[in-house]
Symmetry: C2
Subunit: 463 residues, 2 copies
């Protein structure tokens, strides 16, 4: 692409006319010229790094984001205590495919979050490959007993929204071990949840359900290339063995915090609008996309209100939730405290789908409120925000849901998200400054409109 | 982002109903599961590399893409000879800021494409910083004479479409040297055309206009960080000097080729629909986004017609244009030959804005045709293609324009394009496979609809 050929071709940006258009333009221009989110993310990612719940890094992130919120001139900044689980990975995992005794191929592997360790010397067994839990359940028990179950159903590449592809196979990671135990398996290996063919293993939460500790079996993810290799090797010889070793542990719960800051509303201070992301992350990368991006974008929303000098009528609160990844304790705690205090949350917005170019929002709300937000859509079009869909909002704000309030999730472009998700390459250099900032301004614009026009409340019915 | 929280939230994809929906779905599913574009791009980028017109690499790219087109079972594949300019960079450029005699800071620099060399020992002179050509022209000649002109107007970060920001400052790079000569300057330094603050110098075409060879002065780009450093240093002491050395040369024109392949139409073979990108690139990176991506997407369009078994009524032609970057000889030659042969081009589509997530198209056509393409927009919505704007199409297909045919340009997301454009970091690892493939399927879908429904022709007026 060359020269100014495009000069004549581009639809020029219209000058903003209405007050709404002016304020939204101010958010976008301010974030793109004076935004702080990218600097904050740089610190979270490169000075602190991966922030697994209960880790030193998670506590450093609490202290850092609190200090940054303190510097914004908000009306109040505080920490909300919450007890969180502490799972530790231990020394790096190790795995290989043994195609015949003494002939091995090492493969990239990582323990799933919450998994138990292997025996100290590792675990070696024959492998039974299945394309999912349903297929496993149909096998005769003797084909599974004493073996490692290898869940190898890939994400569906034909779906345009990659979160749908993820949803379509994450049950293997989350529940695969518990199911395998019931069939007598000794371990579980899962194909990494990514659409790329590469050498990164992707971790993520798993659960043993109600299984007693002494019945739990170790579970790990291998990279997609390794999964393909293992599958091919099994086709050549179903009797080959797989070895892996991990010494992860679940420790006692520890004290941690949600980090909260607010600008108090001028007219309806009791009506609270919450915007947030989760401060914890997995430990393999530095958690830039998941969800450092959502945290700094949420902080930026309040920053933009301050920098553009707009005083909200309602209270705007930023919440950096702790422990989304392996417990959701922060989100639950926040909702529990809100109910205990009788707080009136009218709106909550979460950003937890990566710091990519924003495309729109999903809304979890009444028909009347959805119609209202649709009426605002033209205001977003100059910023190429085009997708206002109904659907879920986010894991952390979910517990606030009460049937009346509006919940929303920022929806960025999804194509690259799972390339990085829960893996070693979820790192700062994969976040583009402008994409991150555009997301923050898009969030601020929605919060502004919610503040200005309020939510549509259902008619009161006398009890 | 965790677990299956999103499962319930996502609007599920509707099953395709109409023939049009089915064919478009087939394009997207085929490209995402059996696409060849990423593999082709890998070869072009990593086995061949930067493909400046007249270079060995450009000729290797001609041979490689021809051989790949030969393998697709098209009706005809051929090379169209075109003479192209051959400019060579020579040994790596070198530059420094001399804040006082003997105290120097080296800065990243590259010659602009088409520039003359500095004297053999380099060029050292005082610097006059301007924010553009207009500002330069207003200066008294004695303030410029004997100095290096430093054009430092940055791209405007507040524009959402980064191509607009680029258009707003590329005159400095393209025409800055010719203007500086008229004021008696001895050299030109331009701030790199990117919105990032980094250490990559970005090259690109420049022109001396009608200036005789012996009056030309050398022109180079420095990185944005270097431009900021130079500007700050000048504020501290306007008498500091800048040194740069480059030994680039313009050689005689050489023979090259446009690479062309076609599927002949079954019903209206004389109506030609052309889809293309440019095969040449700048020499600093490997030209993956600019415009390896557009080439392999255009090849993929024909590949998708073959793989889905759809036989077009009109002739579909892929054209890989040579020399877009520094001459446009390929685009001009193609149009010239088309006119000479009396070919009837009804539609042309270009991809030359990077291999990023596709967002839509711009159309250069009659009102009636624009209304027709707008009527197809709902067919693209499941693929998040939402922007059908009027505007220019592309440099290479521009010369075909005749007032009746429809010209269109693929419009991907623009946020990251200028991070890489014409710089050392325009490389393969910055192209996402899915984003590239989605662009190809989006192009194939538009070509399919144009083929099926034809363009709206103006009523014939008797002469």
């Amino acid at each position: 692409m060359r020269l100014f050929i495009l000069l004549v071709l581009l639809a020029f940006q219209a000058f903003p006319q209405s007050e709404d258009e002016k304020q939204i333009k101010a958010f976008y221009e301010t974030v793109l010229t004076q935004g702080d989110s990218y600097r904050w993310l740089n610190y979270l990612s490169n000075q602190i790094g991966g922030r697994l719940s209960g880790s030193v890094q998670a506590e450093q992130a609490v202290a850092y984001t609190r200090s940054q919120l303190d510097s914004l001139g908000l009306d109040r900044v505080w920490l909300q205590p919450v007890m969180v689980p502490k799972w530790v990975r231990g020394t790096p995992e190790f795995a290989y495919i043994e195609s015949q005794p003494g002939v091995t191929n090492n493969v990239p592997v990582c323990a799933l979050g919450g998994s138990v360790a292997t025996p100290q010397g590792g675990l070696k067994a024959q492998v039974v490959e299945v394309m999912g839990i349903e297929e496993l359940k149909k096998l005769p028990r003797e084909q599974v007993e004493g073996k490692i179950v290898f869940y190898n159903r890939p994400m569906d590449p034909t779906l345009i929204n990659t979160f749908q592809s993820y949803s379509g196979c994450v049950d293997q990671r989350y529940s695969g071990a518990a199911e395998a135990v019931s069939m007598g398996a000794v371990g579980v290996i899962v194909r990494s949840m990514t659409l790329r063919n590469d050498d990164y293993p992707h971790t993520g939460a798993m659960s043993y359900g109600d299984l007693p500790v002494n019945q739990r079996i170790p579970a790990a993810a291998i990279s997609t290339n390794a999964a393909d290799l293992l599958s091919t090797t099994l086709k050549l010889d179903p009797n080959i063995k797989f070895y892996f070793r991990q010494n992860c542990r679940q420790l006692d719960d520890v004290q941690s915090y949600n980090v909260i800051g607010e600008i108090r509303g001028t007219t309806y201070p009791e009506e609270i609008m919450t915007v947030g992301g989760h401060l914890d992350s997995w430990d393999l990368g530095d958690g830039s996309h998941d969800d450092g991006a959502g945290c700094v974008q949420s902080m930026e929303v309040l920053n933009l209100f301050k920098k553009t000098g707009y005083r909200p009528k309602r209270t705007i609160r930023v919440v950096l939730f702790m422990n989304e990844e392996n417990g959701l304790r922060g989100g639950r705690k926040y909702a529990e405290e809100a109910r205990k205090r009788g707080e009136n949350h009218v709106f909550a917005l979460e950003s937890d789908a990566g710091g990519f170019t924003p495309r729109g929002f999903s809304f979890d709300c009444t028909d009347a409120n959805y119609q209202q937000v649709l009426s605002w859509k033209p205001l977003f079009e100059p910023y190429l925000i085009h997708s206002f869909v109904r659907g879920g909002s986010g894991a952390d704000i979910g517990p606030l849901k009460d049937g009346q309030m509006v919940l929303a999730g920022l929806r960025p472009d999804t194509q690259r998200y799972f390339d990085h998700h829960h893996a070693e390459n979820d790192t700062f250099e994969h976040v583009n400054k402008r994409e991150l900032e555009l997301g923050a301004a898009t969030m601020a614009s929605l919060v502004f409109l919610m503040d200005k026009y309020g939510i549509v409340k259902p008619p009161k019915i006398k009890g």
